[in-house]
């Protein structure tokens, strides 16, 4: 039998080293575990500093003993390769394990064990943990803001309808696949816009919505009989004409009467709020800032000096000012330049402001992608007889946009997390509602719960977005 050399563990006595090492590590973890979960210090008979560092020392020796190269045991090898490559890494691994064990009990106790969710007033929250009752009571406000309770079904219905319309892509048959891009880029945002401004907003304006739908349906039905050569012009001109006819010629008198009778109650945008407002603002800013950014990035590379310098000016201006200033300007300064009787809704102004602001960032991200393409791609497209737009739409942009998916996702995530700033113009989305709720005299002292709740919601939204962007990347990956 070989002599054991504890400083140099080797393969010959693998099980001696393995058992000793594993027992030492287990003891060290056990000590920390008891200490943290049951508050018992079983090594307290030792002098202070030694008892404090004992788990670390034991674990360190244990990990040293099991660090055997090519042991032939798969599990041991993977541990050695990943968390136990040398003394320093072993030390860090132990530290991380200890910190996790140490921090579990207080977290568990705050989130679950000592938390309260029953009841409906502040009085039930007597424990040392979180007071989820607060979130429960205010949940409605956090979701819908000051939107009247009786009308909240309108928001729910709109969101469900939009979510459903958004999934249409999965059900489309082969024949309609080629129209999907058009649908998502043009039709879907328009539908969403109608839903939000005529259904969630309501009021007599709701009838505009109905006229719009009637006009659209009639023109689609007639559209089947129009030769495909004219369809493009047809679908631009006819629905708008029909809409105007319906509104101002056929139903003008009825509009007023019906408006008095049974239109949806008008809810001004100032009353909107909570998570639903976060969604509305993010959604519209996302779909507006992308095309604007795209055109700015193309404009910046244009040969026409006017377009080029206009684009550069726009990009540099919006990148150069802080978002909070832009929002202030949009609500305070902007109305001063408008005629007296003209009024643009606060929410609309905010959406335009954020869209332009983020468009500048999107433009620079896309420009990075455009510059990454080799000049040969432009040459090849030109040599096949493509003009500027065909070249960009068919050849350049598909490649450039694919390259910048991570960058765009980055900008979009930042945009979603920027939306709480709209509190400066008095619109209260979820974080704004939290700030409002925490100053309510009956519910003082629960800021922590509110912010944890908001963080979790934001994390879910942002993580879903980043996962989606990653999927897109994988989907459009064609190299090799």
């Amino acid at each position: 039998m070989n002599k054991l050399n504890f400083l140099q563990p080797d393969k010959n006595n693998i099980y001696t080293y393995l058992y000793t090492g594993v027992i030492l590590v287990a003891i060290s973890i056990f000590i920390v575990f008891l200490n943290s979960f049951f508050n018992k210090d079983i090594v307290s008979f030792l002098p202070g500093p030694i008892s404090f560092f004992l788990p670390l020392i034991l674990g360190f020796i244990g990990l040293h003993l099991i660090r055997i190269d090519y042991s032939g045991l798969r599990f041991l090898d993977s541990i050695n390769k990943n968390i136990n490559t040398n003394n320093f890494n072993a030390f860090l691994s132990l530290l991380i394990v200890f910190v996790v064990i140490k921090s579990l009990p207080p977290l568990l106790s705050w989130f679950i064990l000592d938390a309260n969710i029953a009841g409906d007033s502040k009085d039930v929250c007597t424990g040392s943990g979180a007071c989820w009752t607060y979130i429960k009571i205010w949940f409605n406000r956090f979701m819908y803001g000051m939107y009247p309770n009786a009308e909240q079904w309108r928001i729910n219905l709109s969101f469900i309808a939009l979510a459903f319309l958004g999934t249409i892509g999965f059900f489309a048959t082969e024949k309609f696949k080629k129209y999907l891009t058009l649908y998502y880029v043009v039709v879907y945002p328009v539908i969403a816009f109608f839903f939000i401004f005529f259904f969630i907003s309501g009021g007599p304006i709701f009838f505009d919505f109905s006229y719009g739908i009637i006009a659209a349906v009639i023109s689609i039905i007639i559209g089947f009989f129009i030769p495909s050569k004219f369809k493009m012009y047809y679908f631009i001109i006819v629905p708008i004409t029909l809409y105007i006819l319906l509104k101002y010629v056929f139903f003008y008198e009825e509009l007023i009467e019906l408006g008095k009778l049974e239109a949806l109650e008008w809810v001004e945008t100032g009353a909107w709020g909570g998570l639903s407002l976060t969604f509305i603002v993010s959604f519209f800013c996302l779909i507006f800032c992308f095309p604007i950014g795209l055109f700015l990035s193309l404009g910046r590379r244009s040969d026409f000096p006017i377009i080029k310098y206009f684009s550069i000016g726009m990009i540099e201006f919006w990148r150069g000012v802080p978002l909070i200033t832009v929002l202030f300007m949009s609500s305070v300064m902007f109305p001063m330049f408008l005629p007296e009787d003209m009024f643009i809704d606060k929410l609309v102004r905010v959406i335009i402001a954020i869209s332009l602001f983020e468009a500048a960032y999107v433009a620079e991200v896309i420009r990075g992608g455009l510059q990454a393409l080799p000049r040969g791609q432009y040459d090849a497209a030109k040599s096949l007889g493509m003009g500027y737009w065909k070249m960009h739409i068919l050849v350049i942009l598909p490649q450039a946009l694919k390259l910048v998916i991570p960058g765009i996702a980055n900008t979009f995530l930042a945009l979603v997390k920027d939306t709480p700033l709209i509190f400066v113009v008095g619109l209260l989305e979820i974080v704004g509602m939290l700030n409002l709720a925490k100053t309510n005299p009956e519910w003082l002292g629960f800021a922590m719960e509110g912010y944890v709740f908001a963080s979790v919601l934001f994390f879910i939204i942002c993580y879903a977005m980043s996962k989606y962007s990653y999927n897109l990347e994988q989907k459009y990956k064609t190299e090799r």
């Binding site: 791609q377 030109k382 040599s383 096949l384 493509m386 065909k390 190299e479 090799r480």
Partner: protein, 244 residues
């Protein structure tokens, strides 16, 4: 009589202050195969890039198939659709499959129905012997296959003239042959071709005429046999002695 499909007269071109092409006069008749050779930096590539106006010339005139190349953009796209071009770096569109690479321009530029365009593409891919790779992406093919696909892509526009800009320079020696074979077949089918290449074997086999360029000027232009048998200028002799 054979008509002249390309007519270049008194053409000059500068990059900044540097004159790349000096007083170029060149006439190409229909169905002729012309090889352009010369040392690097002599303006060969620039010359053929001028023929479909990927580069603009500053003086003189270029007439392609009866249309003069000028600032008028609309004309340019029509002319480019009639002039196929194959590049040194292949320049396939990496986001599209081989078949889509070939059908993209016929469908969107020539407004050909999709089915017809695909049939045409498969026909041309068959000619360059990569029809079986039609559904792969360019990144999955070897250099030689990519270059043959690029030839097929240009042919799908049914051009009257084909320009080749050093089509074999970026390839491994083993792959050069397969590309040259495709080009020889094309030449035999009667296409008008202008080829910038260093492959003198190819020149001897298919070219009707050889043009030798140096320092932006056409130094010598002669029938292929004549060119290789007794070159006139000293510069040509020197070049040939080095390359052969």
């Amino acid at each position: 009589m054979s008509d002249k499909i390309i007519q270049i007269t008194e053409m000059n071109k500068w990059f900044g202050d540097f004159q790349v092409l000096k007083n170029i006069n060149l006439e190409v008749e229909k169905n002729k195969k012309i090889v352009v050779c010369g040392p690097s930096g002599s303006g060969k590539s620039t010359l053929i890039r001028c023929i479909n106006r990927l580069e603009e010339h500053q003086q003189g005139s270029i007439v392609v198939d009866g249309n003069e190349l000028t600032e008028d953009t609309k004309d340019i796209e029509k002319i480019r659709a009639e002039v196929g071009m194959v590049f040194q770096q292949f320049n396939l569109f990496p986001h599209l499959s081989i078949l889509d690479n070939c059908t993209l321009a016929p469908i969107w530029v020539k407004k050909m129905p999709k089915k017809e365009a695909e049939d045409l593409a498969l026909q041309h891919l068959e000619k360059v012997q990569i029809a079986d790779q039609a559904n792969k992406y360019p990144g999955q093919l070897s250099g030689g296959q990519q270059q043959r696909c690029a030839i097929a892509r240009a042919l799908c526009m049914e051009p009257k003239i084909m320009l080749f800009d050093e089509p074999t320079s970026a390839l491994d020696p083993e792959m050069i042959k397969e590309v040259l074979d495709a080009m020889v077949n094309l030449a035999k089918a009667g296409m008008t071709m202008i080829v910038v290449t260093h492959e003198m074997g190819f020149a001897k086999e298919v070219a009707d005429e050889v043009i030798f360029m140096d320092e932006g000027m056409i130094v010598e232009r002669a029938e292929t046999k004549e060119f290789f048998a007794n070159p006139k200028s000293d510069r040509t002799k020197l070049f040939l002695s080095q390359i052969l």
